[in-house]
């Protein structure tokens, strides 16, 4: 099977880059700030591939560059360099070569994103159903009755009470807001979903139910996902393969079980040990 997403050499540097940026940052220098020019190397030479229906985990602490990777792939930020190819049925899109209209089209039609902060993913000035409707309307579904039906199906699927679909998500609990975000992201049945720290800050029982939901969805819809988290538990439960990042670099990658059982890099060993 051909991968749905192939990323090569993805690099994102904030500031004026200098020739020393890549040589003088990274885990071995214990920093992502270039001592020569002060630029921040948020991510450097990140490469990986993702199979259809697969869940890939990206793990690291804050500042490791894990969120930068999904933000560039979802076009929230532009990379400094690198290449990413998204294979959609028969067509292959060279993501960073597309113009901004084409990027917005992919974002609205073929990708889904669930942010840690529901404020970024939801419009609180309209109803929960309206949030889903907006995404359906972007996809040219123009029948009010069908939109209502589809929105209530999605909310039912993500365990949001349909009776509350006409309320603003502002009034919802944090866990429920994440469920609405997931329903919204799934509205277009995207083949690729990005999840950025979606359970961070939620109660443990709420976390568990959301993680279950994500797994069920992956089984039902065969959605490929990239899950970004600092939480080893989330990785253990969801991801079949994992990248570990530190100071903008991938320091270890492979099957999740292998990484957890037999971590190679000292940093990963420390992470795994700390949660045992």
């Amino acid at each position: 099977m051909k991968p749905i997403l192939e990323v090569q050499g993805l690099t994102r540097i904030h500031g004026t880059e200098c020739p020393s940026c890549l040589d003088m940052t990274g885990p071995e220098h214990n920093t992502n700030v270039c001592p020569a020019c002060g630029s921040i190397v948020a991510a450097a030479n990140v490469s990986f591939s993702l199979q259809p229906g697969e869940i890939l985990g990206i793990m690291g602490e804050s500042g490791s560059g894990k969120s930068t990777v999904v933000k560039t792939l979802y076009f929230d930020q532009a990379p400094t360099r690198g290449k990413a190819c998204f294979r959609d049925d028969t067509r292959t899109h060279d993501l960073f070569e597309l113009n901004s209209a084409e990027q917005r089209w992919l974002r609205n039609h073929r990708f889904g994103m669930v942010y840690q902060n529901p404020n970024l993913g939801l419009n609180f000035s309209i109803s929960a159903g309206g949030n889903i409707a907006e995404r359906l309307l972007m996809n040219d579904l123009n029948h009010y009755g069908d939109i209502r039906r589809r929105a209530s199906e999605l909310l039912t699927r993500t365990d949001v009470m349909v009776g509350r679909m006409d309320e603003s998500p502002r009034q919802f609990s944090g866990g429920m807001q994440q469920r609405v975000q997931i329903a919204k992201a799934l509205a277009t049945r995207p083949p690729l979903l990005f999840l950025d720290e979606v359970t961070t800050g939620l109660d443990l029982s709420v976390q568990a139910r959301i993680l279950d939901l994500i797994l069920e969805i992956q089984h039902e819809l065969d959605t490929a996902m990239i899950v970004v988290t600092h939480d080893l538990g989330v990785i253990r439960l969801l991801a079949s393969r994992t990248l570990v990042m530190k100071h903008g670099r991938v320091i270890e990658s492979g099957l999740t079980d292998q990484i957890l059982e037999d971590p190679q890099h000292a940093y990963t060993q420390q992470l795994v040990a700390s949660t045992l």
Partner: protein, 383 residues
């Protein structure tokens, strides 16, 4: 009685014009003489200045006429001048003018105690006590007319040079300010080209130069108070007569065609730490804000200079508040646009209001159908 008269608009307009004119006459047969344009231009010189700058036309006589005709309404007077301007073709493009050549009546710097050429306080209200001068209520014409002559008689004549160097040039020499750009883009003409955002700094400056003083002051003040973070120092504020150099119609050589009274203000703000454009090689520099307008109007020039600095920041980093947002600032400071639209709400809106009532009735009846409201009873009676 099914018919309601809707005729009469023409008569009403004529009547309104007559009433307005009657009030302009003061309403009394033994009232004062009509204002002379000369009196307005000179005795209300700051008002004339304001009208010329907001009207976007340097013409003291026409500005005075507009003030007289509009009975002192600054927005209407600026507007009349602008409308007149619409009828005039543009005959040529003015090349950039050198304000270093201004014949100054006032120049100050709050950045330096000593500036090349010296500070010159000139005519200003700044340190005048705002006490009512009751003696002006009954002024006799003889001493009034002699005031200017006496002032000039006593003034030293030989100490003033024709022009003064700019304060900023000294700072540039020290390298504290970025050098003037070698290449100058052609100026944006807001009277010929529409503003399409994002706009150039030139377009922003041109829009502000003819903006309504109060509107611009309000937005600049929001920045000064904390909805923004420009902490300006007035490097130089100068008021004076700028020689206008135009290409000679035959030789093409720049020739002085006349002079215009201008106010110019340059503010310096602290440099912005910048993580994108300046590498470690670029030394920190001050940043600049520029304001200039026709006539003597210091409030406007200072407000403009602060907003110019704020807008440059907004254009560069994205606006963090209203005064840094080019669209917010430039679309809301034009007196002609804003006062016209505020006043248009007085016009009939029968049709749209009919349409509003239709929607309200429809949604209320739906509301009733839902059984959520039992009190809704229509009292409509029909003839």
């Amino acid at each position: 009685m099914g018919y309601v008269a809707i005729k009469g608009g023409e008569k009403a307009i004529d009547g309104a014009a007559d009433a307005l004119e009657a009030l302009r006459g003061g309403g009394q047969p033994s009232g004062p003489d009509p204002l002379s344009l000369d009196a307005i231009e000179h005795q209300l010189r700051l008002l004339t200045s304001r009208i010329m700058s907001e009207g976007g036309l340097y013409h003291p006589k026409l500005a005075a006429l507009a003030i007289k005709q509009m009975q002192g309404d600054t927005l209407e007077a600026g507007f009349a001048l602008r409308a007149y301007r619409s009828t005039r073709p543009r005959l040529l493009e003015t090349p950039p003018q050198d304000t270093g050549q201004m014949r100054l009546i006032r120049r100050i710097s709050s950045a330096f105690k000593d500036i090349p050429g010296g500070q010159m306080l000139g005519p200003t209200h700044d340190y005048a006590l705002r006490l009512m001068r009751f003696e002006l209520a009954e002024e006799s014409p003889e001493p009034f007319r002699k005031m200017a002559a006496q002032f000039l008689q006593n003034a030293p004549t030989d100490t003033l040079p024709d022009s003064f160097p700019k304060v900023l040039d000294a700072l540039r020499k020290e390298g504290l300010l970025p050098p003037k750009p070698a290449h100058r883009n052609p100026a944006f003409d807001i009277t010929r080209d529409p503003l399409i955002f994002p706009v150039s700094r030139s377009a922003a400056l041109a829009t502000m130069a003819r903006a309504e003083t109060g509107s611009m002051l309000a937005i600049a003040y929001s920045n000064m108070r904390g909805y923004g973070d420009v902490h300006p120092t007035v490097a130089e504020l100068r008021v004076g007569y700028l020689p206008v150099m135009l290409p000679h119609p035959v030789t093409g050589e720049l020739t002085e065609a006349g002079e215009v009274l201008m106010t110019e203000c340059e503010v310096i703000a602290m440099y912005e730490p910048d993580d994108t454009d300046t590498g470690k090689d670029a030394a920190p520099e001050f940043t600049l804000g520029y304001g200039a307008c026709f006539g003597h109007n210091e409030t406007k020039a200072i407000s403009m200079a602060i907003l110019d600095r704020a807008l440059q920041k907004g254009m560069h980093d994205g606006p963090a508040n209203a005064s840094e947002d080019p669209e917010f600032v430039l679309m809301h400071i034009d007196g002609v646009d804003s006062m016209g639209f505020a006043n248009h709400y007085k016009m009939p809106h029968y049709v749209t209001f009919q349409s509003d009532m239709d929607r309200l009735r429809a949604t209320r009846s739906k509301h009733q159908e839902r059984g959520q409201d039992q009190q809704e009873v229509s009292h409509e009676s029909e003839l």
